[in-house]
Amino acid sequence: MIAPAVSYRMAARMAACYDAIVIGGGHNGLVSAAYLARAGKKVLVLERRHVLGGAAVTEEVFPGFRVSVCSYVVSLLRPEIIRELDLPRHGLEILPLDGTFTPMPNGDHLWRMSDHARTRREIYRHSPVDAEAYDEYARAMVEMARFVKPILSMVPPDPFSYDVKGLGRLAGLGQRFRKLTRGQQHSLLQLMTMSAADLLDQWFETDVLKATMSASGIIGTFLGVRSPGTAYVLLHHYMGEIDGAFRSWGFSRGGTGAISLAIAGAAREAGVEIRTEASVARIKTRGGRVAGVVLPDGDEIDAGLVLSSVDPRITFQKLCEPGALPASFLEGVSRYKFRGSSGKVNLALDGLPNFTCLPGQGAHLRGAMSISPSVEYMERAYDDAKYGDFSRRPYVDIVIPSLTDPSVAPPGKHVLSCFVQYAPYKLREGTWDEKREAFGDTVIDTLAEYAPNLKQIILHRQVLTPLDMEREWSLSEGNIFQGELSLEQLFFLRPVPGWARYRTPLAGLYMCGSATHPGGGIMGAPGRLAALEVLKDVGHGGAR
């Protein structure tokens, strides 16, 4: 046994020899740390909260109920990360999230399932033409997804550099585009620029189908379903499927926190040291490059590399010393838009909701339930937010993970999680602290219109506004993707034009969070790509 004093000294000595410090123990920070450690680096992860995972976190919010507090489903966790970090061995298990159920105010519903034939019959019930178009649409999307998917695993080239490799990659994209058929080129161009609703108008006539499908285009953005640039996200639904590994959307057993913990497990196994309740006060510089971090109590930890998985506003405006970065870069950072637009309502239930339009505890409760009865409903929800109010009748995406993973709730009880849009960070009147409960009530009232028993079965409720996400999860303005996923903030423009390659103007400081390409969602791609870029710069192996 080592005496505590010795271990303290050892820790202090070890502290001096970290190669890299990762700020933030969310899934991206952990992925970065794992990749660096596997390449021989000595890595320390510092997480401000008491629990790892960032927004991919499971917490026992109410006694006996374990809740995926923020992020609640997993979509595009990169298969290469699952493979390379061997995440299943570290406890990752993705459970299917089967189908999307949309109740309608007229007593009807739309229920798309993973069973293709049944979905087709269901859509046929609404419109025979749409049933026909649905297959064709899916085929077109799969083709497009095949084109787009490699971009998710690609370091964005810089079109204004003279970096031959990067420009080659850009030219390569052009070449691949040329090889598509004209029809595919046409669809791709539309996908990249159109609004989700306009694009779906070209394929379908059933309003509720278009509304529900278009909803995926607006999640986490301050845009409406009719805003150009929202169509692209429709593709994400067709990316998982072609991986063949798992469904496009799923639950993680034990909540989304279990994903972070699996990654943390892989990181620790590779030798990463992880500290929680460890805030960073400042990023230290010496001689024009990064030298480590300073903790709130003044303690310093040295490292030649610092990777920040927190967003650019916090990293560059709060943690970096004034003068450490060029003014033009800081101007770019200040222009980077956050504009949180969503909230979460998590409920502990003493039973299951009973939908008027499809009573009983059928399989429809196991999938996603979507309050998106019409395109106009979706768009009006956005209109409220544009002028600084939360939606009077919001779009709500509901899941009941306890039906698929009973371990998260006491027997017979359930966890119901609502993702709610729109809840603008900047309110025209009042503050979120004053309006939090009114917002929660609006969500419950909206749901109760479709499942009237809901109010009677609520045991506990947690309402998270964009302000809460900013305070508790350090997501500036409560943006769940660490910055708006609008066209001008994607790919080589994310987060700051010219600085989309994970590096920063400060030598040794890197970005590895969702504010970098390819953006948010539990993908892990930013964390991995950032680590690989770091390794390109400093080589494998430990510091001498």
Partner: protein, 524 residues
């Protein structure tokens, strides 16, 4: 009758194409359905004694190389660049004028905001630099993606080089701004709500989009590029109205040997062996030609005039999906006197465009109404009083007020346009009354042209001012859509040369000019 090229539609693009084709040695025939040439660039008597540019009221401006190539001044074209270029009254009684001279605009702005005044020259300069590069793009024939042709690639490489020479900062700005919402663009520069609204209005003009819609900055940049990229925007008034501009074009075309016929409505295209070989007029007259250039919108050309059997069914679907729903109306007012705007101290302020729309939210709310199929309760207005610079348009001492009104969606949720056109006039006059009390009592005559009128009278599908939405997915080589963006169509002998092709709308003659170059290349 026989011709080398039949040009369908005698608007600015059809006439520009015909004039250049004739100048290039071919024998074109322009067929205009109406009794006057001009299309949407036309001067008409809308009330006894009052003439106005009934549809478009400012020129793009015309591409300078077109004016030079056709020597249009010799054919009577006279234009004025009024100062201020734009005047924006504020509901609080203040007024903001922007001039061609950035220093003068900046000093005007100082009354509103010192930081904005300080930033204005940089804004003006940035727009100028970007416009110089984008201006080159407007003159290009979009390249063929599948089979790149050296003839196209050379100018394209020139554009690419100019883009890189812009430097990292401007280049990055251009890439970032292109897909951005114009509200963000305007507010990135300025804090004065009225100024932001004046700038944002340039992004939404002619689009079924609000200032918060992504891609509206591209619209602003392209319109700026068509002019000289002035921070104040372009305001080109034509003496005699825009009809004088198209008359000059027609006269130049005739001068080079083109035939320009009015009251010649094309019924359908003559097709033989998979090629277009001429046109059939209403009444049965046939005109054979080596090529037909459609200056009517792409849907008219490809769905109504062409037998769609000639097209791939997928392409037919794409033509149908080309978004052409109009959103703008025109209200032409005959006034017994000059209205007095509370915000304008003298009539000199009113010589350019008058912008009504106090802030970005006002513009966005106007769009909100239209999104759901309603007429904007408080629309965005772009007004000219052409009689201030050209008194010949109205009886002595009286005035014409030409009001561009947005939004009035082509597809109404309730009712029809013939029933509801009056509501547009009511909404506009109620709004104007706030800025110019008493204006209603000056009205002696009025004409309302809604998107429905633009479709039925002027023949543009959906009544769209640019023959199709200038959204990101319908620009450049995708205008009207991929595979049809090079003025040629898959049907041999059929060309497109309307505003529904690159570089799009505005009275610039650009599409006609580019198309003429391609037709001359193919036929010679």
């Amino acid at each position: 009758m026989k011709a080398d090229v039949v040009v369908i539609g005698g608007g600015p693009n059809g006439l520009a194409a015909a004039a250049l084709l004739a100048k290039g040695g071919l024998k074109p025939v322009v067929l205009e359905r109406r009794e006057v040439v001009g299309g949407a660039a036309v001067t008409e008597e809308f009330h006894p004694g009052f003439r106005a540019s009934t549809v478009a009221h400012t020129a793009g401006p015309l591409r300078p190389s077109l004016v030079a190539a056709l020597d249009l001044q010799r054919h009577g074209l006279e234009w004025t660049l009024p100062e201020p270029r734009v005047f924006a009254p504020h509901p609080d009684g203040r007024g903001l004028s922007l001039f061609g001279d950035p220093a003068r605009s900046a000093s005007e702005l100082a009354r509103f905001s010192a930081p904005d005044a300080a930033r204005y020259p940089a804004f003006h300069a940035s727009l100028g630099r970007l416009s110089a590069v984008l201006g080159r793009l407007l003159e290009l024939t979009p390249p063929d993606v599948e089979r790149p042709d050296l003839r196209d690639l050379f100018p394209l490489a020139g554009f690419g080089w100019a883009l890189r020479r812009l430097g990292r900062e401007d280049g990055q700005d251009l890439l970032r701004w292109g897909p951005m919402a114009v509200a963000d663009y305007a507010q990135e520069w300025f804090e004065t709500p009225l100024l932001a609204a004046v700038i944002a209005a340039r992004g939404i003009q002619g689009m079924m989009a609000g200032p918060w819609s992504a891609g509206t900055t591209a619209n602003l940049l392209l319109q700026a590029a068509a002019g000289e990229g002035n921070g104040a925007g372009s305001t080109v008034l034509v003496k005699g109205g825009l009809g004088a501009l198209t008359s000059a074009l027609a006269s130049a075309a005739r001068g080079f040997g083109a035939v320009v016929r009015t009251r010649a409505s094309v019924e359908r295209l003559l097709q033989r062996d998979g090629a277009v070989t001429g046109v059939v007029l209403a009444g049965g007259e046939e005109i054979e030609a080596r090529a037909v250039a459609a200056a009517v919108d792409p849907q008219q050309a490809l769905l109504r005039l062409l037998d769609p059997v000639a097209l791939d069914p997928d392409d037919v679907q794409r033509v149908r999906n080309f978004r052409t729903a109009g959103m703008a109306s025109k209200l032409n007012l005959a006034l017994s006197g000059l209205p007095r705007l509370r915000a304008a101290s003298d009539e000199a302020s009113l010589r350019g465009r008058i912008h009504i729309g106090a802030d970005i939210d006002t513009l966005e709310r106007a769009f909100d109404d239209a999104k759901y199929g309603g007429i904007s309760k408080r629309p965005y207005l772009d007004i000219t009083i052409p009689t201030l610079s050209d008194p010949s348009l109205a009886p002595a001492g009286q005035h014409v007020m030409s009001v561009y009104v947005q939004y009035t969606p082509f597809k109404l949720k309730a009712g029809t346009w013939p029933e509801r056109a009056g509501e547009v006039a009511d909404a506009v006059l109620a709004l104007l009354e706030e800025y110019a009390p008493g204006v209603r009592s000056l009205v002696v005559g009025q004409q309302v042209l809604t998107p429905w009128h633009l479709e039925t009278t002027y023949g543009t599908s959906g009544g769209h001012p640019s023959h199709g939405e200038p959204s990101l997915d319908q620009l450049f080589l995708a205008r009207p859509f991929l595979g049809f963006g090079r003025y040629r169509t898959p049907v041999r002998g059929l060309y497109l040369c309307s505003a529904g092709t690159h570089p799009g709308g505005g009275v610039t003659g650009g599409p006609g000019m580019n198309a003429a170059r391609e037709i001359l290349h193919d036929l010679s």
